[in-house]
Symmetry: C2
Subunit: 413 residues, 2 copies
């Protein structure tokens, strides 16, 4: 008998039919002898609509009220899911964030969970009751409803798994698992059976939107095995057919490279001729941070004549804001700022590359053979990212996928 | 300075524009120096959709989960209303049922309020803060969300007024007040300036759906003046242009008749030839009560040969259920059951008739002049109700409205 958290995302509970379908998976887990805590997202589209309402009233709205409004979507799904389970004869009830309680800090709109009181839940799980918990929400020490930021239901699920010492956290979504590349671009992409938290973090932050980054961090910190699987396939979590995100040590034979990620939502900004003095990076990026611009890659070239060029990437939607912020900064001296909205980022990720040379070389050689120019390179322990001209994104991803031996030969044949 | 409860119904908060419009009325009350508690319904259509979701999953769903689901609509509006008020510089916050708390009994789906803790609210009102409260919801002693039954936001508002000792409870709706008859049928209908609780109760239960019956009862019991007014007109509650529901004593010159109500949603059922023995009424109506059939008028004619005919009315949608229930009752002896779905009920209501003779006679003479046959008569202290053939409803209402001198002569001219 295992204790399992089963989290269903928005598309998995998009309508009554899908809620019933999700419920039937939970029923199968219960029938297999497992204790189950269900975590649900809002029906797809609902949260966006509620966020839009708040934005319509005021872009500068009170985030405490925002949380009161947007948390309601998950509340609805939790009640409906409990009903759907009861229809199958399963003893189930919904537990709102304040009822458990799931206590968060006071940072409304993107609160962090501080504590989960599991006493009552644990008792009821032992009695065979299924708990249905709305994701995304908690309650502050001051008794206000708080939400965990977009995608926060993943974090709710993993936090619940950690607090209850669950055997596994199953994240049901609209894909069958984590793939070696986006299957829409690379038809030969394979589903990954096991992936390390660190790799998943790199993939999650690189545009593979399967899991919220924070949930993966939390899983890694607490050693919660997270399984990503499809709610539309017939299997349930206990069939173990999805992608298991787990510790590096439990992956016996790590691939050299686990996957190729890409993101076309990038802008490259270069500030030319800034003075190369200590503290210049902080000087440049502090105003951007204050303006809530998400700076991703940062590359500083060597300097000449005491001047250097600073290049960085931001999400494309924020490039105008970034440039305006720097131009307004009267104390910053530079020659000029150039912006290129026509770039995309391609990354090769794999814990195997820690102990292997030549991974970067394969990347550079492969792209050279296709005449794809690399504009910027940035590396970490388990990742190499490059910026290229956007038009070459798909060609680059497909070529790299083949070059690292990731292609599913069955799919090609 | 007065303490006012301002309740906005579903059509008054149907979209963001209307929420902002409602907020601006609250702002005007605040600027006039009043303390204000705002009670809001769900945006129109939302509750119906949520109820439908629950019904789709199971007609026999857990009412505790039903309450968790359907209470979310008011939660959304409360947060949005607080934001809209803040935009005008008013200090405001939402208070969910469990945050106050508004404690109810455990009868989910139609809970009754047992207690409201007003300490914190009162303190904040004294500091000039506006409280925004989702109507329809409370929390049970067991910590589950409970709802007060459809239309329950009126009850929330009046209960809050009673608990806080408010000077007035303003119910903003989509009509300008309570009318002497349905203006769609009687163009000469007048808005009533003051009406007694007892009259409003008769009108509310007679199909004039302006106020939930329970809220009027609660207003009467606690002496809360309730004002019905339109959220679409330019005025605010303090302009006193709506209909004030108040104690009989405060209405200086009571009209003989306050209004003519009608309901076409009626079925007349007659059980012919039941044995006229003590307890026969209980014998007949107990199974109907158990089947949740809402019996309204009951008329027993005098008996002959130890047999009598029992006539009663039920909502048209329940007539088939009523007949089936009686037919299934093997211990009940009768000759036959007749059903007439082609009737409507017309009622003359007025506290003035307590002390005046001739009110009934005017009714009967007026209908006789129009050749309208009265099928059944039932009277109370302040009401005379009759059943007539449905086709004559509008003619009857218009004729009675004129006969009792209720026509607004300006509108006729």
């Amino acid at each position: 008998m295992a204790l399992i958290i089963a989290k269903f995302g928005g598309t998995s509970v998009a309508d009554i039919q899908r809620i019933e379908n999700a419920a039937s998976k939970v029923v199968r887990e219960v029938e297999a002898g497992n204790k189950v805590v269900v975590v649900v997202s809002a029906m797809s589209g609902v949260t966006n609509k509620l966020v839009e309402y708040c934005a319509q009233i005021s872009p500068m709205h009170d985030l405490r009220e925002y949380d009161t409004v947007v948390s309601s979507g998950e509340q609805v799904t939790a009640g409906l899911m409990a009903m759907a389970l009861q229809k199958h004869g399963v003893v189930a009830r919904s537990w709102l964030g304040w009822q458990i309680p799931i206590v968060t800090d006071n940072v409304h709109g993107k609160a962090r969970i501080e504590n989960i009181d599991t006493n009552e839940l644990q008792k009821r799980l032992d009695d065979g009751e299924v708990a249905v918990i709305p994701g995304f929400q908690g309650v502050t020490g001051l008794g206000r409803v708080a939400t965990l930021g977009r995608g926060g239901s993943d974090t709710s699920a993993v936090a619940m798994a950690a607090a209850l010492g669950a055997d596994r956290c199953d994240i049901y979504t609209d894909v069958s698992g984590v793939y070696t590349a986006d299957p829409r671009i690379v038809p030969a992409a394979r589903k990954i059976n096991k992936i390390a938290y660190e790799e998943m973090l790199e993939l999650a932050s690189l545009g593979s939107k399967v899991l919220q980054t924070r949930s993966v961090e939390m899983g890694a910190k607490n050693g919660v095995p997270i399984q990503v699987l499809s709610s539309f396939d017939d299997e349930i979590g206990s069939d173990r057919k999805g992608t298991l995100v787990t510790t590096e040590g439990s992956i016996v034979e790590a691939e050299l490279v686990s996957g190729i990620a890409h993101s076309s939502d990038e802008s490259k900004i270069t500030v030319l001729g800034v003075r190369d003095v200590p503290g210049i990076a902080a000087r440049l990026f502090e105003p951007l941070a204050k303006a809530a611009v998400n700076v991703d890659m940062i590359i500083q070239n060597i300097s000449a004549d005491g001047l250097t060029d600073m290049t960085f990437t931001v999400p494309r939607a924020e490039s105008a804001l970034a440039v305006k912020t720097l131009e307004k900064d009267v104390d910053l001296t530079y020659d000029k700022i150039t912006v290129n909205d026509n770039v995309s980022k391609v990354s090769v990720v794999g814990i195997g590359m820690k102990s292997h040379a030549g991974v970067a070389n394969t990347m550079f050689r492969t792209l050279a053979e296709k005449n794809i120019n690399i504009q910027v390179i940035s590396t970490s322990e388990i990742k190499i990212s490059i910026l290229i001209e956007e038009d070459y994104t798909e060609l680059a991803v497909r070529s790299l996928h083949a070059a690292y031996g990731l292609d599913d030969t069955d799919k090609i044949a």
